[in-house]
């Protein structure tokens, strides 16, 4: 038996909503700030913004970003 027309419409709308929610989730994660240090031999470590080292790294990075200013216009 074919589905009722309003069911098709609801499915389509909820499909789009799911896609949008997934996009927003991915976007939020990719925009998350991070501080990552790499060591000789390929070892790496992440420092959360709420850790002492992480907070210091973000402050130091913020100062460098301030010095660099905006991107020069071509």
């Amino acid at each position: 038996m074919p589905p009722k027309p309003h069911r098709i419409l609801l499915d389509r709308v909820s499909g789009y909503a799911d896609e949008a929610a997934a996009y927003m989730r991915r976007r939020r994660v990719s925009r998350e700030p991070f501080a990552r240090l790499y060591y000789p031999g390929g070892r790496a470590s992440d420092h959360a913004a709420d850790s002492l080292a992480g907070a210091e790294l973000f402050v130091a990075a913020g100062r460098l970003i301030e010095v660099a200013g905006k991107r020069p216009k071509p």
Binding site: P33, R36, G42, E56, L57, A61
Partner: protein
Amino acid sequence: MAQIETTVIQEARARDTTGILAEMADVEMNGVVSGEMAAGALAYLAEMSPDLRGGAILAGDGAVLAASGRPERWREDAAALLEVADRAGAEPAEQVHIATEQGEVFALRHAGLTAVAVTERFALASLFFFDMRSVLRDLAAGGDGRGADAA
């Protein structure tokens, strides 16, 4: 910081690339790098990386060889960043990558030199580190940072 699968994949790629680069032979400093050469190398880095906002190249003792304006501030702030990075681990960090809402900061120590750069958000980290490393390697070997492109 919470990690999810997509981040892990990115991290694995960066880690593997770092591992590959770590296996490449290091070039030792081949004498004194002039400010002029360092400035040329920084200009070349900016040419290669359209996301670059500004940067500096520092000697092993922390002196600024070239910077995109305000060398004194670059010296102080780069030293502060590297000092914090070194304190965060058991050994000195070779590369630093910090991403914030305002931009991204990269620092790389190689062959007795240090490069620090600030880019727009979402710059390609592996590629950027590769470019920084090749510029420092060429500078340390007595080149102008352009490597094979110099010819």
